[in-house]
Symmetry: C2
Subunit: 464 residues, 2 copies
């Protein structure tokens, strides 16, 4: 634990104080993460602390639990100090007491000295790791089903309310994350050469992360098959005529996420077909950004961007009819099957595990179950201090084309004969990260080439 | 799932057939691994299949369970085929049926169609992931405690017997793993420059892994504080006078592990003190290798290497008395606190989760609980086809020096006054991987410089 790698203690104290007031009564349990085993107990994945634990307690080390007692206004960290045996293997480290004080906690209690009083009301979050479920079953003497259904909605709502609005020190961290993310994308865009393997480019990206001593914020997508949305295969050889879609990001030193996507031509120039589709996606992206402001429903921006994309596709001759009608009929989901963006913060999909209905929607705005909108993680009205991604795309998925055609869908809006000539087109996405400000959106990180012309000029220079 | 990335089906069939005969009766459950969550459910660590599942069923994809029915001589894979919805997100993939046939399994049963008959005897392994514990509780209607205590010793023993003896096709994979591991070590040794950060060198290592499209077999240790045995901090600046200890390895395409360590001087030359300690460790390493042959207890090689190290330390003036007596008294554990090596295969510590008493010891040879020997994972007599690491080291741990001195330990064997001048020396380890052969040990992977002179010449050339 590097004690320099923390915000000021007063920040954590203030966050806990707000949470305590907001939840009102009972004891809040925030489970820190434990080590996560790869192929045997003591072979571990890189440690990643739970994000809510980080937000309120800051410490990035395993085997801790944080307690915020609303009734007694005390905060406790439960955890064990290192023994001499530990120190032989791990070297001298700051004591847990010193770590805890650094985040404003005076009370550290060892596991042998702490017991949960199950007569009290405890608030906990929905677990996403098996060991957390076992911990809660054990601490609170409840069943697995009770753990799964018993998470505290007041706690979830209170945390979402705080974490959805980023403070200035958080935005600094987010800029750091997206700065390195942007550098990583530029490095990949400059390094790509025909006949390289996709995995070599993933290595180029990873090297940038290592050189900044940070981790990736999620498993990167780097592929010539950009139409495959969740693609973690990196075995293809890239060649002239292909486009490379790279969706990747890194964390800041304090674990805030970056998340960007660029799509570029291997040869240095987009083909006419590629450029037309790229520019349609780009226009949708630009329209979305122009509309980012407090008060507007992000769902509506999503639909506006979808309509803009359809307009572009009508111009190309892939679609027909009226763009708004096409979007109402869902015809855009032939190409744009996912959402326009999501909240971002300590998690790349911020607080996804607390439930999208709380993070991205409201009681008055329930997430749609329609194909396309069901994948939109964020629908609600934007507020100053929200941080989110904008990532429209166009994906030509043969299995989906065949399915829709066979079912006779969208015949009023799609020229299926033209679409056939795009079967093997692939996919394009353009993604950036923004803070919502009253005076217009603030781009996170160093601006990176984005228009088709600007991307071509970087590629041509790299290949020269 | 890349269907080229597998052994021949007959190999998996033969392995299962041997296991079935060896266990004799009942149903063997081999749990494949599931995705492992980082900071929310759908943000995953890189997938790693369970090693015993890989050994008997080969397929490296999540959410599978393998059943080997000893009573009916049938093998089953339980898992779900992709739906059209999955294919939209993941792209077209070979069917599970096709994957299963590729490893000699004809019977694929979906999760909805399979139910465990809890009246039958089921054999399962000790779980190392929380979700596996929940799966077994659910499948077999047993408690967490029954899962933890109820693993099948016949199954463990049968698997250990098979997996401890590597076949020729496994040894080919191990060579591949250690070839890339060796290249990774050379790259780090050549790249290091004064004023670099440790994490930049970890990036150099990782880049080699990415360039070969393989994963690290464990979290690398790369540090100027080589005395800290489990050191995953990479934030130090390296400088002239420091030694860098790098312990890292990669997996082969079929997930066999490599594991090597080299220690080298940043400046290009070891200091006199460093060279003397290095050479003592090197002599212990060489003596151990010379003695690797079927029939000898690895515990005895460990003790011989320890005595050789002590002889070297007596020559230097750090220790005194008789080397064998010093080892019997445990005085070598002031410097060499861990074991000489461990089995290696599909796991870097092969089958560690099945229990060291089964993998590295026998009913007649129980692991010692003495400091030092308690960390020796392998003690039993070697057999042709065993694959293991040889990794003696010397670690100067201030906390341990102070503790032993305060307790008056090893006064007949250690010159504490001289030792004081080595307080901040650091640590040295030299590690290679071998197959035990009747005609002498076979080094795995491409040979890499190892003597102090040879390492200095690589460093000098790199710095020139």
């Amino acid at each position: 634990m590097d004690l320099n790698n923390l915000f000021a203690a007063s920040i954590y104290e203030a966050r806990r104080s707000v949470l305590r007031s907001s939840v009102g009564s009972g004891r809040i349990i925030l489970l820190g993460n434990n080590e996560s085993s790869v192929n045997f107990k003591d072979n571990w994945y890189p440690f990643r602390q739970d994000s809510s634990f980080l937000y309120y307690f800051g410490l990035s080390q395993p085997d801790l639990v944080g307690i915020i007692d609303c009734d007694n206004e005390t905060d406790i960290i439960i955890g064990n100090e290192l023994t001499i045996d530990d120190i032989i293997w791990t070297g001298p480290l700051p004591s847990l007491q010193a770590c805890a004080e650094r985040v404003g906690i005076r009370q550290v209690i060892s596991w042998t000295d702490y017991s949960f009083d199950i007569r009290q009301k405890h608030h906990f979050l929905p677990p996403y790791r098996g060991d957390h479920t076992f911990q809660l079953m054990n601490y609170l003497a409840i069943s697995k089903e009770e753990v799964e259904s018993g998470y505290s909605i007041p706690l979830v709502q209170s945390i979402v309310k705080q974490r959805n609005i980023k403070s200035s020190e958080e935005i600094k961290e987010l800029h750091k994350a997206v700065d390195v993310t942007s550098a990583m994308h530029l490095a990949v865009m400059e390094a790509a050469r025909p006949s390289m393997k996709e995995y070599e480019l993933v290595g180029v990206a990873a090297k940038v992360a290592y050189d900044h001593n940070v981790h990736m914020s999620f498993a990167p997508i780097l592929t010539i098959d950009g139409q495959t949305l969740h693609n973690h295969y990196h075995g293809n050889t890239i060649k002239d005529g292909d486009m490379v879609l790279f969706d990747g990001g890194v964390e800041s030193p304090l674990f805030y996420a970056g998340d960007m996507t660029r799509t570029f031509p291997v040869s240095g120039s987009f083909t006419t077909k590629q450029k037309e589709i790229y520019d349609a996606v780009y226009q949708a992206h630009e329209l979305a950004i122009m509309n980012l402001k407090p008060g507007i429903l992000f769902r509506d921006i999503h639909l506006m961007a979808a309509a803009k994309l359809v307009e572009g596709f009508i111009d190309i001759g892939l679609m027909k009819g009226n763009a708004e009608e096409a979007v109402r009929a869902g015809a855009h989901t032939m190409f744009f099957q996912c959402g326009l963006g999501h909240m971002m913060g300590l998690d790349v999909h911020d607080m996804e595990n607390l439930g999208e209905q709380y993070v991205g929607y409201t009681p008055d705005l329930i997430k749609s179950t329609a194909f396309g909108l069901k994948s939109l993680r964020l629908g609600k009205a934007l507020e100053e201090g929200n941080v989110l991604t904008v990532e429209p795309g166009a994906y030509f998925i043969p299995a989906l084309i065949d399915k829709c055609k066979a079912e006779g869908l969208y015949q009023d809006f799609i020229h299926y004969d033209v679409l056939e000539t795009y079967r093997n087109f692939g996919g394009i996405r353009v993604e950036e990260d923004f803070v919502i400000r009253n005076n217009g959106p603030e781009l996170l990180g160093k601006a990176l080439v984005k228009s088709s012309d600007a991307i071509e000029s970087v590629r041509k220079k790299a290949l020269a």
